[in-house]
Amino acid sequence: MKHRSFFWFFLPTATAMLLFIAFPIVSVLIQSVYAPHEQVIIEVENCGPFGCTATTTVDQEATRALREAQPMGRFVGLDIYFNRAHLAVSEIGALWTAAPDLGTFFSRLLGLPFYGALSFTLTYTFLVTPFSLMLGFVIALSVNALPRILRGPTIFFSLLPMIVTPLVGGLILFWMIDSRGVLGAFFQYLSGDPDLSVKASTPMMWVMLIVYGIWSSAPFAFVVYYAGLQTVPQDTLESAMIDGATRWQRIRYVMLPHLLPLTTFMALIKIMDNFRVFEPIISFQASAHAQSLSYFIYSDLGGETRLLSSAAATSVLTIIGIVILLSPVLVRTWRSFGKA
């Protein structure tokens, strides 16, 4: 395709992405190296319904002068990236010198917010992604074996975890896994421990979040694989059968290679989504047990005093993390691009 016609075809989508994603990303990058001005604090008397107290406030007159001198704020370079809430470089140095052995060092390292969140996020990503793809694949195989008449309703019910609004779905599941909820009672019955509580223990909460993640993203994999299965070339399958290939060998050597491009695509999307895990942590009130980078952004932007630069730095780190995770897939795409 000529450059000229390419330009016109690509213009609408490029404009939309440029305006609403690229510009914000640039402003986020800038935001992350600038911090708000020093605030001039003065002591004042504050009166209200409950009497008067001595308090402090920001001296707007003095701060305005600073603000006008440097409208962007203070340039802080990569300070915010390296501070305790993010990469915590100096804290790690201190831990390294203070820790008696490697074990202590790592356990203390996970006490730093960024690394603690990373440990959960990576565990989540590397468990949920493969298991949800596998579950989706097996569901697709089973639905494929169904009589045609049953497929419609089965597809709908299989899609339910993806369709029901996570907001309320989370609220209902949160109640269900309560120690007095229907699933909580079921778990207690299974384990024979009447005091078992999923919400009270960190390992159980992690398992719960991961199971929820697999449950809610399996439908996506199922739909894509189910459709992919329809395109498996029948003649190849049949010739494999004639050659005496077992059922497993047909799946292993015919179906899976055929579905590989689909798998790559879904892994790409799912790794990206799982690395940004956030909604289940809010819905399950799990922040005491598990945190993620997206949760930090939410917390920075949702507090009474908002930390815009910190949220910007965390967002940039998220993008970098995703690019690192996806780089093997990207290299593969790069190699296959010429052949396409």
Partner: protein
């Protein structure tokens, strides 16, 4: 057809697959069916912390309303809180998002699939990096300019933002789909004297529907389930269903409103059931045509 292969499966395997499917369907549908049942109870029963059996027997529902089932949640949501307004907004938003993002996406995806140059690859990668940006950061960045230019609160603003956020995924899916349509089709049309756009219009558009419908399903679900964008960018009267449901919950859950949310969730799933039943053949055939290939 796959049925011919399926027919040859031994009975034991079909039984195992069937049992697995039943297990999965229970797992997938149980929370929803439980919610459907509970939406006809009062809050004290459905969210009982005393004993989950209350939700089945409806002890408090009976005591408070005189019957084991009540439609109060539905009445409150639809009549009292005018949930249909949010439904209307959702229809406007989802239909517009699906139509616009598919239009932009097919044009862009077609161009990417037909370009032999390296920059096409890099554009795809950049789109992927764009998708990595956490949406909450994007949305909080929009607020100030949108307020400044008086764009905040209106449905069109939200629609174009959702379209933009959705473009990377749409582009990836549609590009791989167009790669599976033989180049000869449109190139021979161009040899016959068509312009690039005429070739796209007369040759590609008629054969692209299966892939477009599949991509449309995912665009639809994104727009339909979105909370991060709609809750922050829409004014109260323009709220779509998901943020409206959240407003029933609020930070301080007002008595009874929680059941409005539960009833709303059940009611919004019903049209989706009809939609999936209606479109399932298209969805599947769309993917069948080899839509998503990495």
């Amino acid at each position: 057809m796959s049925t011919t292969v399926a027919d040859r499966r031994p009975a034991s395997l079909r039984l195992a697959l069937g049992a697995f499917l039943v297990f999965w369907l229970i797992l997938a549908a149980f929370p929803f069916l439980w919610t459907l049942w509970g939406s006809f109870k009062v809050e004290g029963d459905f969210f009982s912390r005393a004993d989950w059996m209350n939700a089945v027997s409806g002890t408090l529902t009976e005591a408070e309303t005189g019957a084991p089932f009540t439609g109060d949640g539905y009445y409150g949501a639809w009549v009292q809180e005018e949930f249909w307004r949010a439904g209307l907004n959702t229809v406007i938003v989802t239909v517009s998002v699906v139509v616009i993002s598919l239009t932009f996406g097919t044009l862009g995806g077609y161009a990417l699939s037909r370009s032999p140059y390296r920059y096409a690859f890099w554009l795809l990668i950049i789109a992927l990096v764009f998708r990595a940006m956490p949406p909450i950061t994007l949305v909080s960045g929009y607020l100030l300019p949108f307020f400044e230019w008086n764009l905040w609160g209106h449905l069109p603003t939200t629609i174009i933002v959702l379209v933009a956020i959705n473009q990377p995924f749409t582009l990836w899916m549609l590009t791989s789909f167009f790669r599976n349509i033989p180049k000869d089709l449109d190139e021979s049309a161009m040899v016959d004297g068509c312009s690039r756009f005429q070739a796209f219009r007369h040759v590609i558009i008629p054969v692209m529907w299966p892939g477009v419908i599949t991509t449309g399903l995912f665009s639809f679900l994104l727009a339909y389930n979105d909370f991060a964008v709609t809750s922050m960018l829409l004014s109260r009267e323009n709220l779509t269903m998901v943020p409206k449901i959240e407003s029933f919950l609020g930070t301080t859950q007002t008595r009874g409103n929680v059941m409005f949310a539960v009833a709303s969730v059940v009611s919004v799933t019903a049209p989706l059931f009809i939609l999936v039943m209606f479109f399932q053949r298209q969805i599947v055939s769309g993917l069948t045509a080899g839509a998503v290939k990495g």
